[in-house]
């Protein structure tokens, strides 16, 4: 067995003397789709920022497979965070520009991503002219255009309506299956986590009556086959897994 894509060892983080994360250790295998759930305010986004290299943990270490640390990663937030002065195509092109890739190769990649997320015909639109779902597709395309090894999603569909959210989840799976990328998804939705991921990590505190400091209390493999479709949400395996994740969040320990 090859070494894991990402290993976090004993990550603890303190924010202004307030312990937020405590002794978090986790492993993510290359190509996995991992979801991170937990009550709001528990520190999911903080952990995501630490794994993204945006935040240095107070203690603990993160190891990544050879060279992966230096590679630019993909990042999607709850808000699309598109640059309003750039068109759809120009927004998606940004990571390539920063890497110094221009010309025909960049154009080809941008167009391929636009087709992949189903935005053909909208290349020259500005973000203000897009619906929420479309803007989030652009954000997803921007996060993937440079073919990152690691994609971090922080509540990416949290601002979308339920139907759009479901469809975006399916699209995300389709894209993930077409690309060799390891995904970490932070979400509030238990259903979404179970439906999309191979493994659901549950965050919570081991101490009674408090959310902090939080750690990973449970890891629950979903056990659903791939490729997935919405019909699976009605199967017993899916329902049992959702129940298990919900119980894990509510138990706290």
């Amino acid at each position: 067995m090859s070494s894991p894509f990402l290993t976090a060892v004993n990550i603890s983080h303190t924010f202004h003397d307030l312990p937020v994360l405590e002794n978090i250790s986790l492993e993510i295998q290359s190509g996995d789709f991992v979801a991170l759930v937990g009550p709001s305010g528990v520190g999911k986004s903080t952990l995501l920022r630490i794994l993204a290299g945006l935040l240095r943990p107070s203690s603990g270490e993160i190891h990544m497979a050879d060279g992966s640390r230096q590679e630019p990663i993909g990042l999607v937030f709850q808000r699309d965070n598109l640059m309003p002065w750039r068109t759809v195509a120009e927004n998606i092109r940004l990571p390539l520009e920063l890497m110094g890739m221009n010309g025909r190769e960049a154009n080809g990649r941008v167009q391929a991503m636009i087709n992949l997320v189903g935005l053909a015909g909208f290349e020259q639109r500005y973000p203000a002219q897009l619906s929420g779902g479309m803007a989030q597709r652009v954000a997803l395309a921007r996060a993937l255009v440079h073919e990152p090894l690691f994609l971090l999603l922080d509540e990416p569909f949290g601002a979308l309506d339920a139907l759009t959210r479901e469809r975006m989840g399916l699209e995300l799976l389709r894209i993930w299956e077409a690309m060799p990328v390891t995904v970490l998804l932070v979400t509030h939705s238990i259903n979404e986590a179970v439906f999309l991921a191979d493994e659901v990590l549950v965050m919570g505190s081991r101490r009674p009556n408090t959310k902090r400091p939080a750690t990973i209390t449970h890891r629950i493999p979903t056990g659903l086959p791939r490729p997935r479709d919405l019909a699976m949400e009605r199967t017993a395996v899916f329902q049992d897994c959702v129940t298990a994740v919900r119980a894990a969040i509510e138990s706290g320990v």
Binding site: A52, G53, L54, P72, L75, F77, R79, N81, L94, L98
Partner: protein, 256 residues
Amino acid sequence: MNILQRQPVWLTTLVSFAFLVIGWQLLVTLGGYQKFILPGPLDVWRQMQIVAADGRLLRHSLITISEIIPGLLIGCLVAAPLGYLLAKSPLAERLISPYLIASQAIPIIAIAPLLTIWISSVYWSRVAVAALVVFFPILINMVVGLRSVPAELYELMHVLKADNGQIFRKLEFPAALPVFLAGLKIGATLAVIGALVGEFVQPQSRGLGFLLITARQSFKTDLVFVILVTLAVIALSLYGLVALLEKQVLRWKLQK
């Protein structure tokens, strides 16, 4: 009112201007004011033709404009980098901003005489006053513009391994540009005031400020009005130029 709202802008502007002129003339006629107290629009028009014909209006206008433009540019060139520094460095902000804010409590008319002591050139002391007036709104807008950049976009640039130059060119500059240009619009009109204050303090024989002082001293109130109108036209033109620039640069804002 509805009929007026549906008309093109130039027509409504013309109508409001006509009302202003007619009201002004009525005030003069009904009030029976003498010309040196309140000249009518016709007196002002006649006086404008005289100073336009003998070349005085253009000559003094060009001098004042030649103070306004460098004043505006120098004000921008100093304020923009300083604004960047203040927005990026909390330490710099803590050290510098109290003095900047305190300096705004002192009216420019009180600082201007000092500048004429320090800067011996009449021309450059006037430019300096203009630059000083422009400085603050540009600075504030630069800081506000840079602070408006969402933290998440900085995070995005960091995970994409952008260097500081790229972050400035591709994120901070375009993000701050709309607010900066709004500041430039205010600065453009303030530069006119600044140049005029400079001319009031150093009124040596040239510029619209000099012409204004001599006109007032000789009770040529109609000439005073001509100069006020000219100043308004200069300020409006500068504002219009910046607005035009804004329209070109911020084309993405117009798309809906």
